[in-house]
């Protein structure tokens, strides 16, 4: 660990990575593998294993609707999160870090609590409705309404803080010196944002946005508290089927879970392609 002679060789490095690698690989493979097998009928609760895609077929319409809803919610929330998060990070550059600090305060808030408090804020009898003095019917149905607005806002609220912190870190370390260099070369504030700041923070934004997107895709408690009964996002559907009394729905629950995982992987693949393109151009 200290002297060149004791510098970890490949074996030593491999040894050090095992305490993290083994649990991660085991849990992920066991968990997702088991879900996959259950969805394909190869790990039934009762009866003999038999390969079948019934679990996917039976609910195909609902799965498709739920998938579309999940993706829509995740996209909307991530878009708002990126917009607000990047803006927050940019305001913190000049030294007045109030907005960033406010964002940091929201980080320890669990999503469940966030859902509860945003529900108290945006419901028909919530704080904002009272503030605007709008009685029954005058206040739009943000919670449990047709457009899943409260759900999207809660995800966007938490994501914007996460993205703000990630981008602020990159701005502080990498971008500050380049901004001055660009200024003495005659670039206006807008030009500096366009030609220096945004290109340099782009990889971090893509990474943070992808993590936020996939998290929202697989998130349960917020849609549970703030959403409506139908249609359901994929995680809500999966857990409803999983905890139902009818044991025959277990494979269907697993199918919904696998679909969610696949969507997440597709999103990551898309993000990697986006990142690779800029590297090649470089």
């Amino acid at each position: 660990m200290s002297s060149p002679a004791a510098e970890p060789g490949a074996w030593r490095a491999a040894l050090w990575v095992l305490p993290a690698l083994v649990p991660v690989a085991t849990i992920l493979i066991a968990g997702l593998g088991s879900a996959l097998l259950q969805s394909l009928g190869l790990m039934p609760l009762v009866g003999a294993p038999a390969l079948t895609i019934d679990a996917y077929r039976v609910n195909a319409g609902d799965i498709a609707t739920s998938a579309a809803l999940s993706v829509a919610i995740a996209t909307a929330a991530t878009a708002i999160g990126v917009l607000i998060g990047v803006t927050t990070a940019l305001t913190a550059v000049a030294g007045r870090r109030w907005a960033l600090w406010a964002g940091t305060v929201t980080v320890p808030v669990p999503h469940l609590i966030g859902a509860a408090t945003i529900g108290l804020l945006l419901a028909d009898s919530g704080l904002l409705a009272r503030l605007f003095g709008l009685s029954e019917g005058g206040w739009p149905a943000l919670v449990g309404g047709r457009w899943w607005i409260a759900v999207v806002l809660e995800y966007a609220w938490k994501e914007s803080a996460f993205i703000a912190l990630v981008v602020a870190a990159v701005l502080a370390t990498r971008v500050a010196a380049y901004d001055e260099t660009a200024a003495v070369l005659g670039a206006s504030r807008r030009a500096r944002l366009r030609l220096v700041t945004f290109p340099l923070i782009r990889p971090a934004v893509v990474a943070a946005a992808t993590i936020s997107f996939t998290y929202t895709l697989g998130s349960y408690e917020v849609a549970l508290l703030l959403g409506r009964a139908y249609p359901e996002p994929l995680p809500v559907m999966a857990i409803r089927l999983f905890t139902s009394v009818d044991l025959a729905t277990r494979p269907q629950a697993a199918a919904a879970a696998i679909v969610t995982a696949v969507l997440a992987l597709l999103a990551v693949a898309g993000a990697l392609m986006m990142l690779r393109r800029s590297a090649v151009w470089r």
């Binding site: 010196a177 660009a182 003495v184 005659g186 670039a187 030009a191 800029s278 470089r282």
Partner: protein, 352 residues
């Protein structure tokens, strides 16, 4: 690109600091001239550059370009380019795109800006490097690209903040030659900050010395060596000989005897330190000189030797020409050419 730069009463207190980083600087740089701003660390040199560039605001004072007050103009509109100690080439752009940055920022298309910038890249002798990745070039090459990038902005004044300090001496010599050819081609007004007096002498015609935020000396290069305003400036310029004594009627009296001072110094009567460059003092036969002393030690300074000659309780440093050799313990005579003598008045009981 030739613009006259004037600084009037430029003062800067860093946030929360009581002591001024820069205190009342008055400095003029003629169009097309090259001024070296010299000083020890923390003397306010980089602060000055940042104020001139517009990256920081002065607490008091003004910056004038060809007579126009630009103190309240933001950095991007001043037309003053700056090369930093670290090249800071934009990592997401190629070499040519870095050089073309100013053109791009002003609205030129990518193709036009690249075409317009090629000549600046050729000026720094890196014409073939246009499409290279910034990560693939050496430190010296990066510094040259940074120079080209600043020149391509066609600035009114070019500021260089210790740009060669990270390069080895051979590379530095190349850069001095490069700077000379750039001056021939474009005649920009240049302010170069450095802590190295030999670099200042190699590159500039004028030297200004900042010590603790105050301008202590401003003159052409030779005068800075031979007629420093203060002892601190003398030491900064590498001068080693300081002989305490006093002046009466234009004659300096000290342990080395009486020496008539050149008329143009304007020496005041009173306590004063005699200074003379070690490169100018000559050894002679003890019998033929008015000053005699003993060589106390010899030190090599490159190919030459520097002798420390003890005269009474004082030491005189002499840089010996390459063909002359001497041995410690030898009694020698010293000759101090009159026109190279200089005296700096000191207050009673204190050094300047």
């Amino acid at each position: 690109m030739s613009t006259r730069l004037e600084l009037r009463g430029l003062t800067r207190h860093h946030r929360g600091q009581h002591v001024a980083a820069l205190n009342g600087l008055d400095l003029d740089v003629n169009a097309g001239a090259c001024l070296a701003l010299l000083g020890p660390s923390g003397s306010g040199k980089s602060t000055t550059l940042r104020l001139v560039a517009g990256l920081d605001q002065p607490t008091r004072g003004t910056v004038l370009l060809d007579g126009d007050d630009v103190t309240n103009t933001p950095a991007e509109q001043r037309g003053i380019a700056m090369v930093f100690q670290r090249a800071l080439l934009f990592p997401h752009l190629s070499v040519i795109d870095n050089v073309a940055f100013a053109a791009r920022a002003s609205g030129m298309s990518r193709r036009d800006s690249r075409a317009a910038s090629q000549r600046y890249l050729e000026l720094v002798q890196l014409g073939d490097f246009a499409d290279r990745c910034v990560a693939d070039i050496s430190g010296g090459q990066a510094q040259r690209v940074a120079l080209a990038r600043s020149l391509a902005a066609e600035p009114k004044v070019l500021l260089l903040d210790e740009p060669f300090s990270a390069l080895d001496s051979a590379l530095r010599a190349d850069m001095y030659a490069l700077l000379r050819s750039i001056r021939d081609a474009l005649n920009p007004t240049i302010v170069l900050v450095t802590h190295d007096q030999s670099e200042a002498a190699a590159v500039a015609e004028e030297i200004a010395v900042l010590i603790d935020g105050v301008l202590e000396h401003h003159s052409d290069v030779r005068t800075a060596y031979v007629r420093p305003s203060t002892l601190a400036v003398h030491r900064l310029m590498g001068g080693l000989n300081e002989i305490p004594g006093s002046i009466a009627s234009g004659v300096h009296r000290s342990e080395l005897g009486s020496h008539a001072l050149p008329a143009d110094i304007g020496a005041r009567d009173g306590p004063a330190t005699l200074v003379i460059r070690q490169e100018v003092v000559r050894l002679a036969e003890p019998s033929a000189s008015s000053i005699t002393g003993t060589i106390e030690s010899l030190q090599s300074a490159g190919i030459r030797q520097r002798a420390r000659v003890r005269v009474g309780s004082s030491s005189v440093f002499v840089e010996l020409p390459p063909q002359v050799s001497a041995a410690a313990g030898t009694v020698v005579g010293l000759q101090l050419p009159t026109d190279a003598l200089h005296a700096i008045s000191t207050r009673a009981g204190g050094a300047v």
